[in-house]
């Protein structure tokens, strides 16, 4: 349902043309949790932006259900950026319901859905708080809720937990897993952390250094929820690390 065909992206800089993605081809099925794993600055984020239609590819094409992504609401997408980017003048509920407001859904219905998803993410009671009144981890939860609430056909996540401390990150990873198991979505999750990739993904696509090309495409068959200190998890991590070296 999501198809990348020879996607190529380069930026023109003063020093010449900088190729960030080279000949990326992949096919992603509905309901997969795909983790794009690669070193920092390898073009993973650009790939997500192209998938969302925020930027065009230089060559090649991205097809969502057979059509190129466009921003005019034909494809419902969710995007969780690296920083939560909550609007400080909106309380948590109206941050979460931004996408429903854009779709002109009635306020009562918007709020009903927001309360439900905030509860799933452990934020009940904080509906009327403003972003500056809550912690960094809570902001990230709200950003995830904002993307999830529009019931996207694809959820794109660009290293959403990279700025968090280890403890908060773990609890968010758990909650994302819970949420994903309850409401299955196609997710493309970008990270440079192998452990995070194994913890969350049903499939790991490893990208090399810039320009991004596929080095390995691996199906993770561990049962969910995954335990990072379990034997199977540790073994798999060693195996993958060995393959990457």
């Amino acid at each position: 349902m999501l198809e990348y065909r020879n996607v190529h992206k380069s930026f023109d800089t003063e020093a010449g043309s900088l190729v960030v993605i080279k000949d990326f081809t992949a096919s992603i099925r509905e309901g997969e949790f795909v983790v794009l794993l690669g070193p920092s600055g390898c073009g993973k984020s650009t790939l997500l932006r192209i998938t969302a239609g925020l930027e065009p590819p230089s060559r090649g094409e991205v097809l969502i259900d057979g059509r190129a992504p466009d921003l005019h609401g034909r494809h419902r997408l969710g995007f969780v950026f690296q920083e939560p980017a909550l609007m400080p003048w909106r309380d948590l509920v109206s941050n979460v319901t931004l996408g429903l407001e854009i779709r002109r859904i009635a306020k009562a219905e918007r709020n009903r859905q927001a309360v439900e998803i905030l509860r799933l993410l452990g934020l009940q009671g904080f509906e009327k708080y403003y972003p500056h009144q809550v912690s960094g981890g809570m902001k990230h939860r709200v950003a995830i809720a904002r993307a999830y609430i529009v019931d996207p056909i694809i959820l794109l996540m660009d290293e959403p937990f990279v700025a968090l401390d280890a403890q908060t990150r773990e609890s968010l990873q758990r909650d994302l897993q819970d949420l994903w198991q309850r409401r299955k979505k196609t997710v493309i999750f970008v990270t440079h952390n192998l452990e995070e990739a194994i913890l969350l993904g049903t499939r790991i696509v490893v990208l090399g250094k810039r320009p991004a090309t596929v080095q390995m495409d691996y199906e993770v068959r561990l049962a969910m929820p995954r335990d990072p200190v379990s034997r199977e998890f540790v073994d798999l991590r060693h195996e993958l690390r060995g393959m990457l070296a």
Partner: protein
């Protein structure tokens, strides 16, 4: 089991937030007391220095705060030679300033928003707008005298002095909106008008109100200059000008201080509006 895990950390966070805000409130009232203390002290020091240097100089052209405050009371109660009291002078000037300032807000802010959203128009008209911007308001006085009379003249001169800084500051506030906010809305399918009205303008509002506060001082500069060249008898600028020719420096200083106090009050009022509207903006402390 999964449920327990969800709820646990958040209760903790909630309690922490409450504790932090309690502590913050206590700290605020402590800070406020300190600020009031320091300001009383610096006012006292200023008055002492002024009185001392006035006595040292011993000149009729440099009266100290004691003489000036006696004059202040006389002007307040009895008024000047023409019988106009100080509050009346202040009221007339304030009225003119607020009209000119309002006219500038009504024109500069919408134009700044439009051109901030539509930068090519600004860049395409810079050859006209930039030179205009650099003409000091005082250079407009001859034009103002020829083409306007009465209240219109004052309003025009204040408008000229306030319009450009307000326009530029508004435009910059609008055009520096966070690109991620815009991306968030675009991915969710927002139209251009939704992004402009619901994302970019609310995001720029604190900067726009800040700009309104910043242009208060050029507004006062313009009104005093305008009143000094006009033929009318009332207004703080006129008060200063009239008594300067009579070398009554005590009255001149009363006029100057009145402008300072009015400016301070307007500034505080706008700051209160800012605080009420933009509670989400945290002050940065270094």
């Amino acid at each position: 089991m999964a449920k327990m895990r969800e709820v646990e950390p958040v209760v903790e966070i909630g309690e922490m937030t409450a504790a932090v805000s309690r502590e913050r409130v206590q700290k605020l009232s402590r800070d406020r007391r300190r600020v009031i203390g320091f300001n009383s002290l610096s006012l006292l020091l200023f008055l002492l220095l002024w009185e001392g240097s006035s006595r040292l100089l011993h000149s009729v052209f440099f009266p100290g705060p004691l003489v000036v405050s006696r004059t202040f009371v006389v002007l307040l109660v009895e008024g000047d030679i023409q019988g106009y009291t100080l509050p009346y002078h202040a009221y007339v000037s304030l009225y003119r300033v607020l009209l000119g300032f309002g006219a500038a807000c009504l024109t500069a802010i919408p134009l700044g928003i439009i051109l901030g959203l539509w930068r090519p128009v600004y860049f395409g008209t810079r050859v006209v707008s930039e030179p205009l911007r650099f003409i000091p308001p005082l250079a407009w006085i001859p034009m103002a005298i020829l083409f306007f009379s009465g209240l219109g003249r004052y309003v025009f001169l204040i408008w000229v002095g306030v319009f450009f800084p307000l326009f530029i500051l508004t435009m910059n506030g609008v055009s520096t909106a966070s690109p991620t906010f815009v991306d968030v809305a675009r991915v969710l399918g927002a139209s251009r008008s939704f992004i402009a009205l619901r994302i970019i303008i609310p995001n720029a509002l604190p900067q726009i109100v800040g700009a309104m506060r910043a242009v208060m001082s050029p507004a006062w500069m313009c009104i005093v200059a305008a009143e000094m060249v006009a033929a009318e008898l009332v207004g703080l600028g006129q008060l200063i000008n009239n008594y300067a020719t009579l070398l009554r420096m005590d009255i001149v200083i009363v006029g100057m201080i009145s402008i300072g106090i009015l400016g301070l009050l307007l500034n505080e009022a706008l700051m209160a509006v800012e605080r009420a509207l933009f509670r989400y903006r945290q002050e940065v402390k270094v």
